[in-house]
């Protein structure tokens, strides 16, 4: 029970948000209307992705000093899990954009920058494939991961602020900022973020364990 409570919490929260997100009332805003519910399913993906990428950087830093293979596997598996959430974030956003903005890809700065930051992590995975020797691969890919992380922060948090976005809450669009996000939405949104972060972390721990067992089998 000690080890599983957060997994149960994560699952319960995600199930709760899936039901409550579709059933509970939402404020009626122009343009958004009922699609405002996508907030519960789209935005938590980015939170989960960023948490997973941060875990990856943490273990990359650790693996540079400890040189342990475990830390390296943790770093790469959290990137693998994070990329899934990033792609899901892009897809949920694109489907929503089709019905709200009219196109799947609307050349929105946030859309573009999110896509580029996922490219960054694909580059990281390709770099890993390019090196055969294990210790060298661990070291060089950790360095690239740490080098790329500040750039991802710039891409996702700084650059979109300099440009007008079509996203709700930007450039005069009605949005989910503190003024509009009423208490009914908060009741679902915050649990959704926490729930998806926990699920993301769970996915990562499972992937890590599988990889670890595979590695042990190879060495024996």
């Amino acid at each position: 029970m000690n080890k599983t409570w957060w997994k149960i919490l994560g699952s319960v929260l995600v199930i709760y948000t899936a039901i409550a997100g579709l059933l509970l009332g939402v404020p009626h805003l122009a343009i958004l209307n009922e699609t405002i519910r996508n907030l519960y399913f789209h935005v938590p993906m980015w939170f989960a992705m960023i948490v997973l990428f941060s875990i990856s950087v943490f273990y990359s830093v650790k693996s540079l000093s400890s040189k342990s293979e475990i830390d390296d596997i943790k770093a790469v598996e959290s990137v693998n899990a994070g990329i899934v959430f990033g792609v899901l974030g892009l897809v949920t956003g694109a489907i929503w954009a089709k019905y709200t903005w009219g196109q799947f890809w609307s050349f929105d700065p946030k859309q573009n920058f999110a896509a580029i930051s996922i490219l960054l992590y694909f580059a990281y995975l390709i770099l890993r494939n390019a090196i055969d020797e294990e210790q060298k691969r661990a070291k060089i890919s950790a360095i690239y991961n740490i080098f790329a992380f500040p750039m991802m922060v710039v891409l996702l948090f700084v650059l979109p602020r300099l440009k007008d976005s079509l996203h709700p809450g930007n450039g005069g669009n009605p949005g989910f900022n503190s003024y509009d996000l009423d208490s009914r939405m908060r009741m679902v949104f915050y649990p959704a973020c926490l729930g998806w972060i926990l699920i993301g972390y769970w996915v990562y721990t499972i992937r890590f364990r599988i990889r670890n067992i595979e590695n042990k089998q190879q060495h024996n």
Partner: protein, 221 residues
């Protein structure tokens, strides 16, 4: 002070090596000039200022990848070992970065001159601001590409990895540069560009700081 002395000596070495062979500078220069000329022949005339600006930065991007990636990729294992014995890792990285910045400055200046000569219909009204963008561009290209070329050279397969690894990192910088340069092309007052200049400087400081932190781990084999 030891560091400053080492950096000075290493830069001197780089410049001397380049001066003897003149391979990189002439090679990249010919690359830029022929690319611009090819663009001129295929576009004949550019539609508007935006295309003029974007085309210049795309040409500069590819030229600088070619120019800067030489810095670590062309060195043999023995040469690298020798300089690592003589100097500290920070000195090696700083000297390469400074040398690449100088190289890129010369290169971009000549390229800008030739570009405005060939595509003379859209010469930016605010040339000083445009030149500031070019200088900042040279600086950012060399800080990012120097570190990435070090990573790519250690990974042991040069060209393609260099492009894959550096593009996602350079795109945000490139967006800022194009925005800044566009302000100059539009002839906006300087106050409008301070944000971008500050951002570019911050990004560069960030890149140099992370490179300096990480390079000591990279060069030790």
């Amino acid at each position: 002070m030891q560091l400053a002395k080492e950096v000075k000596y290493l830069i001197h070495k780089e410049v001397l090596l380049e001066w003897r062979s003149k391979y990189t500078i002439n090679g990249v220069l010919l690359y830029v000039v022929s690319t611009i000329f090819t663009c001129y022949l295929s576009f004949v005339s550019l539609g508007d200022k935006l295309t003029w600006n974007a085309l210049f930065w795309i040409i500069m991007l590819f030229a600088s990848i070619n120019g800067v990636s030489k810095s670590f990729l062309q060195e043999t294992k023995g040469q690298q070992l020798y300089s690592y014995i003589l100097a500290s890792p920070a000195a090696v990285l700083i000297s390469k970065t400074v040398y690449n910045t100088l190289l890129m400055l010369v290169l971009t200046t000549i390229a800008l001159g030739f570009y405005t000569l060939v595509f003379d219909s859209f010469t930016p009204p605010d040339l000083v601001m445009y030149y500031i963008a070019v200088v900042l561009g040279s600086l950012s290209f060399s800080t990012v590409f120097t570190m990435v070329s070090a990573i790519a050279s250690k990974a042991g397969n040069g060209g393609m990895l260099m492009a894959i690894l550096s593009f996602p990192i350079i795109i945000p910088v490139l967006i800022l540069l194009i925005k800044l340069a566009k302000n100059a092309v539009d002839g906006l007052p300087w106050e409008n560009s301070y944000d971008e200049i500050a951002m570019l400087l911050v990004v560069n400081v960030l890149m140099v700081a992370t490179s300096l932190l990480l390079f000591p781990y990279l060069w030790r084999d």
